[in-house]
Symmetry: none
Subunit: 233 residues, 2 copies
């Protein structure tokens, strides 16, 4: 990484830590920036063990795959530019099983140079909007490591017990009776309304727990509506 | 977004711009932070058009899906926590075809509160390393919007118009008042109950039509409960 701003070095280190990467290598960092970043409060283990190198060549010497990052789609260097996504992330992960992979990020102002690119097997572009392709360095690192760092696609496991039709019917009946007592149901429309209410409850796709909760509420309201002649307000 | 640091507000705006999102809403931002962020050199169009709101409820009122972000896997609120990835991103994109989606990000120090969470249909967690789950706010925004913003194929156009958060909040408030008048809400538990009720309504995933229907019912019941001292039975 060629970074000049200590905040960005710190941000990169934090993203690495977030996604389980630990070897941060800085190429010719501004001494002061690096020292500031390292001594920052809460500086992570990543930052503390970051290494300095005098050239990209030295920094990537022990890596078997070197991937450069770029915001632009076309560079003078003839090189395949891959778009960050699951296929590229998988390729990187596969590589990580047998060797070290270097991800190169440029300096904030100018990105990687053509010379830097010459060390790369391929180039990687984050699929940004064409209206604004220039990402903040720390955010670009976070996005790349998020994509590369995650394991196989995860789905969410939600253990839901749906409400039974019987539960729903109890709610429907209590609600209908409450609506009747409230004057919502006009004479002659009760049957139509009952269907409408039942359908409404079905569309809610309530879980068992929620059905119980809702029934409790409606029952209490109905009980109150049935109380004779006291002042409610 | 509840952000306190102008750099983070700026970083969030930049990531939004990078991934093609444009409506930034800030809940009670520190006036100074917001002004600083807005006037920053290179402040993007996103930042210039950012809006301020006094509460989460107001900020999400016109949204049909509200997603909260959290770093932790378990919260006291019983709520499905989804892991950021292609399936969740697809769900958000599908929703965007018919309505507005709010992505809630908390303040830097404390994240979202339980009260904030009570406005959310579901919660989203970025799959970070267990060793360091706490992400920088701007980086978290970038990662989420990268995943959601990319143009993966969208399936299934559903012909429903979901209810807005504002509609649901009206039902919540009427229902709460009805429950209060019915003696369902015990003194001292009102706040807890309001969250519980809001969540129940969110889980129903009501369509706009159904929300209107339900609001009409609850309003009528509430009106009846408010009538002084006549015999109801």
């Amino acid at each position: 990484m060629r970074a000049r701003n200590p905040l960005n070095i710190g941000a990169a280190a934090r993203a690495m830590s977030n996604f389980g990467f630990n070897s941060l290598r800085l190429v010719n960092p501004y001494k002061l920036a690096f020292r500031d970043a390292r001594s920052a409060v809460g500086g992570s283990a990543v930052l503390k063990s970051a290494e300095e190198f005098g050239s990209v060549a030295d920094a990537v010497a022990d890596c078997t795959l070197v991937v450069g990052t770029t915001a632009v789609g076309q560079r003078s260097l003839q090189r395949p530019i891959e778009i960050l996504g699951e296929p590229t992330a998988r390729a990187v992960r596969e590589h990580l099983q047998t060797g070290r992979v270097a991800m190169l990020f440029g300096s904030e102002k100018t990105g990687l140079s053509n010379d830097d690119f010459s060390h790369c097997q391929w180039l990687l572009r984050i699929p940004t909007s064409e209206q604004n392709i220039s990402m903040n360095l720390g955010q670009a690192v976070a996005v790349c490591l998020y994509e590369i760092g995650r394991s196989a696609p995860c789905q969410s496991v939600t253990e839901v017990t749906p409400a039974t039709a019987g539960d729903l019917e109890k709610i429907t009946q209590c609600l209908m009776e409450s609506l009747r007592l409230s004057g919502y149901v006009k004479p002659g429309t009760a049957e139509l309304f009952e269907k409408k209410t039942r359908q409404l409850l079905l569309r809610m796709k309530l879980e068992a727990y929620d059905a119980k909760l809702l029934l409790g509420m409606v029952r209490q309201i109905l009980w109150k509506l049935e109380q004779p002649g006291e002042s409610n307000a």
